[in-house]
Every structure is written in structure tokens, then in C-alpha cells.
């Protein structure tokens, strides 16, 4: 297979991913996982003979949703799964047109609370973004927060390089840290005041240390959904008073929790405050 053929094929599959709903697309070498994750979590563990990992990112809330004064709007409109849809189109095209195996990489935990395959790492290795001080979210230089999906395939494509420059911290955040000892995200959710984030930036303007209280964040970022359903159900089951139990079952909180777990569509991310103040991608959210 010539380099030209590989290059043409790579451009075609990237174009397809963008047309199918992705905002960004990158391709990583499966061997790059070896130095970052243990056996069992690498592309070859999921699809033997994997030769490429195609990663697609798509934006979550619209710019209009970011502006809504009703925070519950963002709780519901945070995500539309376009990246998943795009990945399925990519995988179909590889199997049907190129006669190679292709699968959607699993994104959700199957045992424990760790996913079998890290979409965050995939996005970094495919050159789509870098880890940030804000909850380790992978920030894309153009769009900031994106949702990622990946396709693992036995077909070889041209690989993208990891970003040479960190997306986070933004130079404005470096300046803010030097003056006030905090970046905008740390100030929005400071761990020492009941928040989730802390960190420091070194003399070169790079992340020196970062702290993220994941458990605490989950209680805020997942007000509705599987977590709140489990929490509410535990309380409902242990309630002894029948009338009170019925009130809890028919409450708007439990209704929303049930509704939020249906098809996992209504409600995924629900806080966004660290991202609201992030300067990365802000220009993309500035409209008329």
C-alpha cells in the first residue's frame, strides 16, 4: 500500500467523520497507548490487530445554551451524541468499503467505575487536545470542551501527532495565576472552599500540579441521571412511611432522575461552571 493511497484514504475518512457530525477528527497509533495504560486498556486488547484509532470530537451545549439563565437548560441540553453517530458512520465505511474490521471503542465502565478505554487519552494521542486544570477535561485549542468517541480498526491510516503546545493553561490564566494565585477555573470551584479544583503553574507557564476532587464533582455535575436515581432510590427504599415514600416517588426530582436515565440523553453533564469561565474556545461561544 503506497503512502499516497494511505494519505488519500486518511483524508477521505476524516472528511466523512466531519460530514457525519464531528467537529474535529484525529488518528492515533495504537502503539502509543503502551507507555500510558496497562494491559487490558489498550486498543489491541479490544480489537486484536488494531492498527489505527480514529477519534472524533463534537461540541456539547450550543452557545445559546451557555447563555441561558436557567441552569437546568444546560443540565438537559448538554449533549447530543453526534460524535457517537459519526464514529458509527466511520466504522461502517471502513468495514464496507475497505474490508477491514472496525469497532466503536467502549466508552462506559463495564466493571468498576473505570472505562475499559479512555477517550480522554485517545483524544490526546490523536492530537485533538491536552489535559486541563479544570477537572482534567481535554481541551481542544479551537473549541475547548468537546465530547469524544473513537473507532478502533485493523486498517492503517496516517497518524496525527500529539499537540506540541499545551492548550491549558491559556496565557490569560497564567497571568491570572501569577497575580492572584488562581486560574479562572480554580477560582470558580476552589477545593479549599468546598469546590473541586486546585493546581499550580510553573515558571514556564505549564501545569506544575493539579488536583481534582472527582467524587465531589460528580455530586454537582450529575444532579440528575444514574447517580441521582441511585441516590433517590436508596432513600425511597429505606423510607418507612408509605405516604412519604409515595411523595418521594412522584416528586419532580425523582421524575427528572428517571427521565434523565432514559436513553442517557436528557442529562449528562450538569455543572459546567469551570468551563463557563475557561477562555479556551470562548470565541466560538460568542455570537449575536
Amino acid at each position: 500500500m503506497s503512502d499516497l493511497e494511505t494519505e488519500t484514504r486518511t483524508q477521505q475518512i476524516k472528511q466523512l467523520a466531519l460530514e457525519a457530525g464531528g467537529d474535529v477528527v484525529g488518528i492515533a497509533d495504537p502503539r502509543a497507548w503502551d507507555e500510558h495504560v496497562p494491559h487490558g486498556h489498550r486498543p489491541d486488547d479490544i480489537l486484536p490487530g488494531a492498527r489505527s484509532v480514529i477519534v472524533v470530537g463534537s461540541r456539547g451545549p450550543t452557545a445559546g445554551a451557555w447563555r441561558s439563565p436557567n441552569h437546568r437548560v444546560m443540565e438537559i441540553n448538554g449533549y447530543d451524541f453526534r460524535n457517537d453517530a459519526a464514529i458509527h458512520r466511520v466504522a461502517d465505511a471502513i468495514e464496507q468499503q475497505h474490508d477491514h474490521q472496525a469497532i466503536q471503542a467502549p466508552g462506559l465502565p463495564v466493571a468498576g467505575h473505570l472505562p475499559p478505554f479512555s477517550m480522554m487519552l485517545a483524544a490526546v494521542l490523536a492530537g485533538l487536545g491536552t489535559r486541563s486544570l479544570a477537572a482534567n477535561i481535554i481541551l481542544n485549542p479551537k473549541y475547548g470542551l468537546l465530547y469524544y468517541s473513537a473507532c478502533i480498526t485493523t486498517l492503517e491510516f496516517q497518524y496525527d501527532h500529539m499537540l506540541e503546545q499545551d492548550v491549558c493553561p491559556h496565557h490569560m490564566c497564567v497571568e491570572s495565576f501569577r497575580r492572584f494565585g488562581k486560574t479562572p477555573c480554580m477560582a470558580a470551584c476552589p477545593s479549599e472552599e468546598g469546590g473541586c479544583l486546585d493546581g499550580s503553574i510553573d515558571d514556564q507557564g505549564r501545569i506544575d500540579y493539579s488536583y481534582y476532587d472527582r467524587e465531589r464533582c460528580v455530586t454537582r455535575a450529575m444532579n440528575f441521571g444514574i447517580n441521582s436515581f441511585q441516590k433517590a432510590l436508596a432513600q425511597i427504599v429505606s423510607e418507612q412511611d408509605e405516604e412519604q415514600q409515595a411523595t418521594m416517588i412522584y416528586s419532580d426530582f425523582f421524575s427528572r432522575s428517571c427521565s434523565a436515565i432514559t436513553h442517557y440523553k436528557e442529562s449528562v453533564a450538569q455543572c459546567f461552571e469551570c468551563m463557563r469561565v475557561c477562555p479556551i474556545g470562548r470565541s466560538e461561544r460568542k455570537l449575536k
Binding site: A63, N70, R256
Partner: protein, 288 residues
């Protein structure tokens, strides 16, 4: 047309409508954001998106003619959902932002605090001329009858459509039937005086009074899905007999309820009897 040139909003509206139609919407229309004065404060477009100028409404995804013909009534219960219109609404919101650089937010599905919708999509459909409220409850399009709607609030000043000059309901056949028998097809199939949900009066061919028992209707329309789950959960938890409780948990009813929650996040039509007898849109429910 580009965002840097002067936007022709009439042309923009046509373009958005064409995208909606290509993606599966049967109808589309625009309501002015300031026309929602009948909605309570907090439930108007500008409460969701500051400086909202327009609400773009799409409708479609109604049951097919074949669905209406199925002798297995459970078939309709599992195939009639509003999800397609919700997905399309998200796509259109993104299109408005990316193509025209105006803010856009999709009206969230489901209910907000107090089990109230974020904004009445039925009111939006009525104001945008996509249909009119009916004796049976749903907004009916004059040609297609019952359908599901989605709405997108935007700061883009799209030219507003006007409400229908002639309401879709009551249809001439229903006016004639009311004159002859003092009832309409929908009243007849679900009479509020005999344990049903609908009642009302026609005068001079128009609706002069309407009775709709929403609470009673929801127990029939929502046999499965979230309300069904809540009802079953309460009954199961309050069952003192452990064996019977286990039977309830593993019953087909409980299984169906859980299944229905996984494939529709917003609403599912599960009765539809008032719509089955409605003459509005009958031609589209009739095939060979």
C-alpha cells in the same frame, strides 16, 4: 449568503426550513418570541435565552399509516415517540449558530421543577401556525393531524408566521356530528362523563368549552415509561409479601416499563384512541 454579508432573514428561514424538511420534519414555522404572553413568567422564550427574538418550530415523526392499522395496540405504545423531533431540534439549533452566528437553544424536553415544561412547545406550535389546539388535547396540523413537535429559541430575528386562520379542530365532519348527536368522535371514544378524559361544547362551528382530565389521561397514555415505573415502584415497595414482591419485580409489566424508559427519553404515545378517530389527517393514515 455568509455571516459577514447582510443576512436576508426570509431566505435564512427558508434555508433552515429546507434543512428541517430534508431531515424529516413535515412542518416548520416561526413564532415571535414576544408572542408568548399567555405563558406564565419563567416559561417564556426570553426566560430560557435572553434577547430571544424567534422560536423555530418543527413537527413530524407521527405514527405511520401502518402503525395505526396494527391490531396489536402495544405496537403503537412502543413505536410512537417524540425523540426524532428532539434530535432534529438540536441539529437545527447548531445549524443556526454555525451558519448564521446567532444564539440558539433547543427547548429542553420533559419537565422542569413542579412537573411543568420549560416552555410550552404546544403553544409554540400554535403560535407558529404549525397547527391548532384540539378538543382532544394535542396540537393538530390541518393536513397531517397529530404529530410531535420540537422548538428552537434563537436571537435571530426570523420573520414570524401567523396562527392558522382556520383552526384544524373541529373538522367539518365533527361539527356536523356534534349538531346531529351532541358529541364528536373524540368525545365519543373517551367521554369524560363515563370515565373518560374528554368533554366540551361547540358553538357556531367553534370550540366554546373544553374539558380535559389531564391526570386521568396520563394514567392511560403513560402506561409504561417513567410514570408507569413510578407507579409500579410504589406498589412493589409497599407489598409486604416477599414472594409477591419478587413476582411484581420480574413481571412483564415491570420489564416493559424499564424497557420503555430505555428507548424514549421524553414521551411516548400509548393510548392514541382520541387521535385514531380524528378526521384531521385521516388521509395520511389511510393507505392500501
Amino acid at each position: 449568503m455568509t455571516v459577514t454579508s447582510q443576512i436576508d432573514f426570509e431566505e435564512a428561514k427558508s434555508e433552515i426550513g429546507a434543512i428541517a424538511a430534508k431531515s424529516g420534519a413535515l412542518v416548520g414555522g416561526v413564532a415571535a418570541a414576544d408572542a408568548f404572553m399567555a405563558a406564565p413568567e419563567g416559561r417564556r422564550p426570553s426566560d430560557i435565552l435572553p434577547h430571544a427574538r424567534s422560536v423555530f418550530v418543527i413537527g413530524g415523526a407521527q405514527p405511520r399509516a401502518g402503525d395505526w392499522q396494527s391490531p396489536n395496540y402495544q405496537h403503537m405504545e412502543v413505536t410512537s415517540t417524540s425523540d426524532r423531533m428532539q434530535t432534529l431540534a438540536l441539529k437545527i439549533a447548531r445549524t443556526i449558530e454555525d451558519r448564521f452566528s446567532y444564539y440558539a437553544v433547543c427547548v429542553p424536553p420533559g419537565v422542569d421543577q413542579g412537573q411543568q415544561p420549560f416552555m410550552s412547545i404546544a403553544m409554540a406550535a400554535d403560535l407558529a401556525g404549525c397547527g391548532s389546539r384540539s378538543l382532544a388535547g394535542p396540537v393538530l396540523h390541518p393536513e397531517y393531524g397529530f404529530m410531535y413537535f420540537g422548538a428552537i429559541i434563537t436571537t435571530m430575528p426570523l420573520p414570524a408566521d401567523k396562527r392558522l386562520d382556520t383552526p384544524a379542530c373541529p373538522a367539518p365532519e365533527c361539527v356536523a356530528m356534534y349538531a346531529a348527536e351532541n358529541t364528536t368522535p373524540c368525545f365519543g371514544v373517551c367521554p369524560i362523563g363515563s370515565g373518560g378524559c374528554l368533554g366540551g361544547r361547540l358553538e357556531a362551528g367553534h370550540i366554546s368549552d373544553r374539558q380535559y382530565d389531564s391526570a386521568r389521561c396520563s394514567t392511560r397514555v403513560q402506561n409504561y415509561w417513567v410514570p408507569g415505573f413510578q407507579k409500579l415502584l410504589g406498589a412493589t415497595l409497599q407489598e409486604p409479601d416477599a414472594k409477591k414482591q419478587k413476582m411484581m419485580l420480574f413481571s412483564s409489566m415491570f420489564s416493559r416499563t424499564l424497557w420503555s424508559m430505555t428507548y424514549s427519553n421524553v414521551s411516548q404515545g400509548q393510548c392514541s384512541e382520541c387521535m385514531r378517530v380524528c378526521p384531521v389527517g385521516l388521509a395520511h393514515r389511510t393507505k392500501q
